[in-house]
């Protein structure tokens, strides 16, 4: 169900290793819980986070959720399309709905995240 090539956090973020940069977004489960997303507040390019720091906010009509940085790093890019089209997260949470990219990431932190199988299991137990 959840893409095999990604890693996942318990806060329902996913991370993709793009060779150098790490791309972060929220999972389909998180997007479904929120409902139609109406607004995304992204970090600034250049901002630095430690693992599990609050990095972004996603809002729907009935909820607002923090997005935590699943790994530590520095923001090198943000998905500006989400400004006008926050619904991209609902349509394609793993592709068009990507939120920000990090560099200077600790590879050990990345590997400590759940793989797809572990995340699927985690979801079943919720």
């Amino acid at each position: 169900m959840n893409p095999k090539h990604l890693k996942y956090s318990e806060n329902h973020e996913w991370v993709r290793d793009d060779g150098g940069a790490y791309v972060v977004g929220i999972t389909e489960y998180a997007a479904e819980q929120l409902g139609d997303i109406t607004y995304v507040e992204l970090p600034q390019v250049g901002e630095g986070f430690a693992q599990d720091d609050e990095a972004a906010t996603v809002e729907s009509v009935k909820a607002a959720s923090e997005v935590y940085s699943p790994v530590g790093g520095t923001v090198v890019a943000i998905n500006e399309a989400l400004d006008e089209h926050p619904e991209l997260i609902n349509k394609g949470p793993y592709e068009q709905g990507w939120m920000f990219k990090l560099e200077d990431v600790d590879v050990a932190e990345f590997h400590s995240l759940m793989d797809a199988t572990a995340y699927d299991k985690f979801l079943k137990e919720l």
Binding site: Y39, V61, K62, A63, A64
Partner: protein, 419 residues
């Protein structure tokens, strides 16, 4: 009903309350008939004096309220309705909120407004925390023009927040500078330069305004303000010994997501019919809890309706006329009081709208007391609110004061200060 529930007596329903904690006795009087309550309230009301010709302002003003404001806002479909969380059966509430937000924007020259806050003082506090959220700075600068009561309210609410509140007009490193226009003592200023200085320093300009004055005066929007707040009592709300009043807040469009309070927005239903809903609720306490923009839940919705109705009744020309009357009558009184040979000194150096400060040759409270006997509420002795010396008095004039009132008042005040 007891049978359906399966209990023998009403008492059983209170079993969950431990026996030792039940009320044993209290000193609450027996109930009275409606007739007796009516009489009681009437007698309490009669122990107050409202017959004086009033020159008392200080943030709250004796303006004329057209009869239709009461008639319409006392329709029970408005006043016995709840917050419009089920929009399909609350389009009356929601459309009126949308229209209210619209007239506030048109009045202030700004681009968005909320559905109301509690009052002018707490609105200043909300503007301060909103500025802090927008700039990520924690210093709030209060200009001396601000109503001292608003400043007290701000201090009380901010007491345990990591906010630094300072006096002055220096925007350096500040989240905002909060200015009142007209000032508490009545002076009217052009804040355009201050707005520019604020923006150059990365700070916001918050203007606390007087709604009636915007029938005439340059608006917060025109002057470059980011956030405008006000006490809306002057828009069709009775003086009511302190409430309910109306906290007004308007702002630039780009700040809307950090604005507290409810906001109504236009949309449509499945059949394409136009309708209104509360929006951006994710900012509010029932969703965001401790991270909400504010803790506000109940607001002053019915008072906002009154303000909307008032502004619609007065209309484009009417509000300007009320403002012009207030100003001209105040200027007339000012000229009577401040004429050469008079021992009453006008303290304001520049233009004022409808309120001005005078220095009397003797104690202002003493004079005010004697003016009561002559049938006048002479104004606000300023030392009582820490805004002037013992002989200083703040005088307000509204459209309700006739020329005779003004002449008689001037004569009485002169008589009281010459003897």
């Amino acid at each position: 009903m007891l049978a359906a529930i399966g209990v023998e007596s009403l008492e059983t329903l209170f079993d969950p309350i431990p026996e030792g904690l039940r009320l044993r006795s209290w000193d609450v009087p027996p109930g009275l008939s409606e007739m007796a309550v009516c009489d009681l309230i009437h007698r309490l009301a009669s122990r107050n004096v409202t017959s004086h010709a009033s020159f008392l302002g200080g943030g709250y003003y004796d303006h004329f309220i057209p009869a239709a404001v009461d008639a319409l806002s006392s329709r029970s479909e408005f006043y016995t309705a709840y917050t419009p969380y089920q929009p399909e059966c609350a389009q009356g509430s929601l459309q009126s909120i949308y229209e209210y937000q619209s007239v506030i924007c048109r009045l202030t020259g700004l681009e968005c407004a909320n559905a109301s806050l509690y009052d002018g003082g707490t609105a200043v506090f909300e503007a301060a925390t909103m500025s802090i959220r927008l700039t990520n700075r924690n210093r709030v600068v209060c200009h001396p023009s601000l109503n001292p009561i608003y400043r007290q309210i701000l201090d009380t609410h901010a007491a345990h927040l990591p906010i630094e509140i300072v006096d002055g007009d220096e925007p350096q490193d500040a989240a905002c500078v909060i200015v009142q226009n007209p000032a508490f003592l009545g002076d009217v200023a052009d804040l355009t330069t201050l707005a520019e200085r604020c923006h150059a320093a990365g700070a916001l300009l918050v203007v606390s305004f007087y709604p009636i004055s915007l029938g005439l005066l340059k608006t917060p929007g025109e002057m470059g303000a980011d956030i405008a707040v006000a006490e809306g009592q002057s828009l069709g709300l009775p003086l009511g010994f302190g409430g309910p009043y109306l906290g007004i807040m308007a702002a630039r469009r780009r700040h809307i997501r950090k604005m507290p309070g409810r906001i109504a927005a236009a949309t449509h239903d499945g059949q394409g019919r136009k309708g209104y809903v509360l929006t951006l609720q994710a900012r509010e306490q029932h969703i965001r809890r401790e991270k909400a923009m504010s803790n506000i839940c109940s607001n002053e919705a019915l008072c906002a309706l009154r303000a909307l109705i008032y502004l619609c009744l007065m209309g484009k020309e009417g509000l300007g006329e009320v403002a012009a009357h207030c100003h001209s009558k105040a200027e007339y009184l000012k000229s009577r009081l401040g004429r050469s040979g008079s021992r009453i000194r006008i303290l304001n150096e520049g233009p004022t709208f409808n309120e001005f400060a005078v220095q009397l040759p003797r104690d202002a409270s003493y004079v005010a007391d004697h003016m009561l006997g002559r049938g006048f509420l002479a104004g606000l002795p300023l030392s009582a609110v820490g805004a002037g010396g013992p002989n200083d008095l703040l005088i307000a004039v509204t459209e309700k004061r006739t020329r005779d009132d003004l002449d008689d008042f001037a004569a009485a005040l002169e008589a009281e200060t010459c003897s």
